[in-house]
Symmetry: C2
Amino acid sequence: MNSLTEENYLKTLFILSNETGEVNVIDLSKRLNIKMPTVTSMMKKLADKKLVYYESYKPLRLTEKGKKEAGIIIRKHRLTEMFLVKVMGFGWEEVHEIAEQLEHTRSPSFFEKMDEMLGYPKLDPHGSPIPDKNGKVEWKKYSKLSDCKTGDTLKLAAVIDSSEEFLKFLNSRELKLGLKVKVKSIEPFDGTMVISYGKKQSETLSHTVTERLLGELMDI
Amino acid sequence: MNSLTEENYLKTLFILSNETGEVNVIDLSKRLNIKMPTVTSMMKKLADKKLVYYESYKPLRLTEKGKKEAGIIIRKHRLTEMFLVKVMGFGWEEVHEIAEQLEHTRSPSFFEKMDEMLGYPKLDPHGSPIPDKNGKVEWKKYSKLSDCKTGDTLKLAAVIDSSEEFLKFLNSRELKLGLKVKVKSIEPFDGTMVISYGKKQSETLSHTVTERLLGELMDI
DNA sequence: TAATTTTGTTAGATGAATCTAATTTTGTAG
DNA sequence: CTACAAAATTAGATTCATCTAACAAAATTA
């Protein structure tokens, strides 16, 4: 059995690997807000447990066992988020913090019950895929809004950042998953975009925002 | 903010105080499965935080602040149990262990939402009172079945033990809260009782069982 | 390629929560 | 009232997860 702390390292390493291919000590260190020496020693510990491959000065990689355990934690996190939104009526901006705590609950039946009540959902409220019971996930290949060109239309499908601040910002602009947004113009200097969607004819979004929005490019 | 460990000491001290008046180091030690020296040092720590009164060789007592914080943890535990039973459909024998973990969740809105969904319940599935938001509880003065005399009728209102094993035993005999049970005979040697209730004309219960069942004595 | 910066590791310390062994205090039974 | 037993405390060790400081390796820049 892994400690709560170990679970957080596994989960973060898993997510970081999927975000950016190679993960270094410093990346984990920054994401977890933990100093590098601490990360190094935890990696050695997880290597002893056959959860990560660790070689000095090499990128960090989860073993298959590590991926499975990380996937299961992420499954619990995302099921919880979905439960909080669909069953308990929370807003999508409120659930990340709570799920961060509940994901460590040791009770398979608790999460099975959630899954059942939710009708075995495939995505969480932020559009991220929910791993299956073996921790396996299919990551969809979405486009970032920030990579779109003028004239492109993107159907929003997921956010990269589930923080309360970011989601409150999206709420304030009535930006939701499922919306089709059209790129009206892009400022070459800093990437600021003007987009239209729903009733909004022109809404300006910074690069910081557009690079956190994912979706499917529409043909039209 | 108290650690999860500190919360467990506070909660257990609170419950033990209500069960048995005076609580000694050894009682807490046994209940928590933690050796006495560890308990002593934690009591000193909690005394520094003004959560317990601690004097060497004296019984342990919570301060008002300690009672409030313990009460709030117990509130979260019992609301969670009720939620698991009423909203998620768990059996009353399954919820204690899960609630033991969820009670440490730091999210007032999570528990407020539960409370609201449940319609502000006053009792948990085991008949124990749910403390209010300030941690205050009214403990009802129930009678133990083991204290009843032949001919008495007791309306079951609560169990003293929420363990899965005990509750599964009750399930197997179809013993539920709300039932009226009548004492048909008591074995003077070991206190074994024969009772009748519902369709059961004579069910034999050991003292171990009868002292864990509480209820209101009926007039008739 | 040499110098500098960035990244990573080693060594050693700290605080929390636990333990065991030894000692002391309190309570109880002759 | 002494002796023994039970309960509690003190002292010191251990494990986990963290840190800082110092050093080493790798990557980058000049």
